[in-house]
Symmetry: C2
Subunit: 320 residues, 2 copies
């Protein structure tokens, strides 16, 4: 099978397509964070993106690129998270029917939010999600929009980093969280396109380090069980076939972090920086926040990937 | 006693003094909020201000205006909230010794934050706060920086609204929460200075409606017991002598809201807009969010006053 791997310029094209519909999210800085780390840190706040996460960027880019016939038929995906909402909204804005296959045990609030954008929800046992998705494609001619293993999803995801690099100027380092690696591979393409000297680094939970292993070995390593990391957006068990070649070519490193480090960084982002971010977003800030980036004095970008989180559920992390 | 009531131009002067040290906080907007309310709403995010609240603005303006002798002697105040931290940081930046009288039962986290800015903390029973503060003034020659009943505090607080009005252009309405009315009176001066046609409205918890009564009667009405509103920054029992004349001259209305309305608005700000704000800040958005502002189509500014809140403590508001 010959894969169509997106080039760095694909991010520039995606940026034009989404310019009128996506939020140009703000970049936050913090005196406290800079003093504490010795770096100059720029936080790209995708928690303020539409649907509360960067996922809308790739979804809109992907749906907008479909042929007229594909648009008329509709799109389908399987996701219980931010991609579901991103695709539902993108499809709605483009007048395309969306069907989202969600596991039976997905939170009611996420099902309701996705349905609220006009998508049709199909509930099924988690293990049957891919099969049911494939069945929908066969029976209805829907186009599958994969959450991360898709060139247009990757290019769209990279537009967050593109905006950041264009706004703040030269960066030494750029960190993103890694789940399926859609965001990381898109970010790497963005840097390659306009700041090739900026090193792009992925960060993932140590208990879900499939991307690190895949990047090191040069082949897709699959976790045999779903991790229970608090960074629920990063529980993906393997990176995509379109993603790995980009990681190997453009990504400088993939680091891992502990659950305690994620929690401490999340607390800082909420209580000091007043940002509602989800644990997956906090992951990208961990290495810098924990003082692991030497030498000091670097200009560092962080993609805070999203802010969709149940406050009541996360509150125990804030107890003494 | 002849009071020195600040003029609208005092806000313009304060803005120059704080320009280099205060954060020029961002203005957030939301498609969802605008669609839901039928208005165009601009949220001035003072939760992103230094110390996490607008209070830093007035504190810095006030301390910077002291004479050399006053600065050499030091400042004192009584506060268990945001003014304590605002004054502590302002004094530190200006090389002035600060003493903060806090009630014994103030949260340890707030005492630690205030001490972290280099202030001396004096703990005492809540009922003795004012007496101990006065004693410190007598014994050490400190200058009392009152949390709201002070012309320079008022003018400094108004700079948040000034920035908002300068950034977004003409507004029809501008809402702030009301505790002691430092923010409301400063905001009213800011509008009078540069947009006199913009109507300024205060919002306070119905169970702590002393400002509404005072504004209506034209005399300071004192609550006989401290309210237990969840908007803990608005539990002040009476507005200041400097504040009331400004409210009477420049404020169009003072509205009250219920505890349930505050909680619902807070949940929206956290879960949809991804902003960590304290309940007191949510208060200002309640009338617009609850659909009580007619006719539709107005341009409305909201001062989100701060974001200092204990996540674990507030979490029950987010439970189903």
């Amino acid at each position: 099978m010959s894969l169509q791997i997106p080039q760095p310029t694909a991010v520039l094209e995606a940026a034009k397509r989404i310019a009128e519909v996506a939020n140009h999210t703000p970049v936050h800085t913090s005196r406290t964070l800079n003093q504490q780390t010795g770096h100059k840190i720029f936080l790209k706040c995708e928690n303020f993106q539409r649907v509360g996460a960067f996922k809308f960027r790739g979804a809109y880019n992907a749906v907008s690129q479909l042929s007229a016939a594909q648009k008329a038929a509709g799109v389908v995906t399987h996701s219980s998270g931010n991609h579901a909402q991103g695709l539902a909204l993108a499809a709605k804005l483009l007048g395309v029917k969306a069907t989202i296959v969600m596991p039976d045990d997905a939170p009611a609030i996420k099902k309701a939010a996705t349905a609220g954008y006009g998508a049709t929800i199909i509930s099924c046992p988690a293990a049957e999600r891919e099969a049911i998705c494939a069945q929908q494609v066969r029976e209805h001619g829907y186009t599958l929009i994969h959450p991360y293993d898709n060139p247009n999803i990757i290019a769209g995801a990279g537009t967050a980093a593109l905006e950041l690099l264009q706004e703040v100027g030269p960066l030494d380092l750029l960190f993103t969280p890694v789940g399926g690696a859609g965001l990381l591979s898109g970010t790497a393409l963005a840097a390659a396109a306009i700041q090739p000297h900026c090193r792009v680094i992925g960060v993932e939970p140590a208990i879900a380090n499939d991307a690190q292993q895949s990047w090191q070995r040069g082949e897709i390593v699959r976790l045999t069980a779903v991790s229970n990391t608090i960074a629920d957006g990063l529980r993906t068990c393997f990176v995509g076939e379109h993603n790995l070649p980009i990681l190997r070519q453009y990504v400088s490193n993939i680091l891992t972090v502990t659950e305690e480090e994620i929690a401490a960084t999340l607390r800082f982002l909420w209580t000091r920086l007043k940002l509602v971010v989800e644990p997956s977003a906090a992951v990208a800030l961990v290495p810098a926040f924990m003082g692991k980036i030497d030498p000091p004095g670097q200009r560092i970008g962080i993609i805070l990937s999203g802010g969709n989180v149940d406050v009541a559920q996360i509150a125990p992390l804030f107890e003494d």
